[in-house]
Symmetry: C2
Subunit: 151 residues, 2 copies
């Protein structure tokens, strides 16, 4: 029983199945959703920056610290998606285009990011692995930003 | 090897050993630290709210969703502490008193919160467990706020 619980915890990952819960139910107001998703991006972006500094050599490579950042990035990458209720592209946001017009297209980009962040914790065990998978993760970020975020 | 990796991932939890990394090294400016810790609190608070709604009965109890929230709360509870560099109690913050004056006292409150959030994922398997451990976690939040946060 203990082992199956461990396995379930690992399988569920840090963020769990949050993205399966209907979006609108989670936030009383659009502002709450905006604040929440921006917070998730802030934390994610900070840790992408830490890995990036290691990749560039402006910060010493440290596998434990890199793995900690990688896990946080992975967990954060699951959070924003439920926090895009229709009408939450206000002037306080950088939303571009219409992510609600083609839900499948938006979802594909979300899934693309989560697929790459899932590989980060193992990849950052070495500096070469970090560089490679940080690149792939950054590309998945960019793919989504290109379509849905103002510069 | 696979099993030991799983075990290590579980042991390390979502947030890992981030709080062991020296604080000031992580943020270029105090504003970055403030934004980061506030983001962590935003995400944590949102999920405390979800559990709270289940405890109050304004949202149906769902063990999977509760566990997902509990894991996020646990992970978030590790993040803010490195993001309190000296001088980061500006007028954009609600910092009260002087958390830097007695580092041991501040650390004790941080540890208290992390000890309670660590119990959340298992506790929320039942509604009674959720109510009990949400209360204990909320108390640990309050203990710290009482000393260091403006109302």
């Amino acid at each position: 029983m203990k082992r199956s619980m461990l396995a379930a915890m690992v399988a569920a990952g840090c963020a769990g199945a949050l993205h399966l819960v209907p979006a609108q139910a989670q936030f009383a107001k659009a502002e709450d959703a905006i604040k929440y998703r921006q917070a998730a991006y802030t934390v994610m972006s900070n840790h992408m920056g830490r890995l990036s500094a290691m990749a560039r050599g402006t910060r010493p490579f440290d596998a434990a610290s890199a793995q900690s950042s990688a896990r946080i990035i992975e967990a954060m990458s699951h959070l924003p998606w439920e926090a895009f209720p229709p009408g939450s592209a206000t002037d306080k946001t950088r939303v571009k285009g219409d992510p609600w017009k083609d839900a499948a297209a938006f979802k594909k980009l979300q899934d693309g990011l989560m697929a790459e962040t899932a590989k980060l914790p193992a990849a950052v065990a070495t500096l070469d692995g970090l560089k490679q998978q940080l690149g792939a993760t950054g590309k998945a970020c960019k793919d989504c930003r290109d379509d849905y975020r103002k510069d």
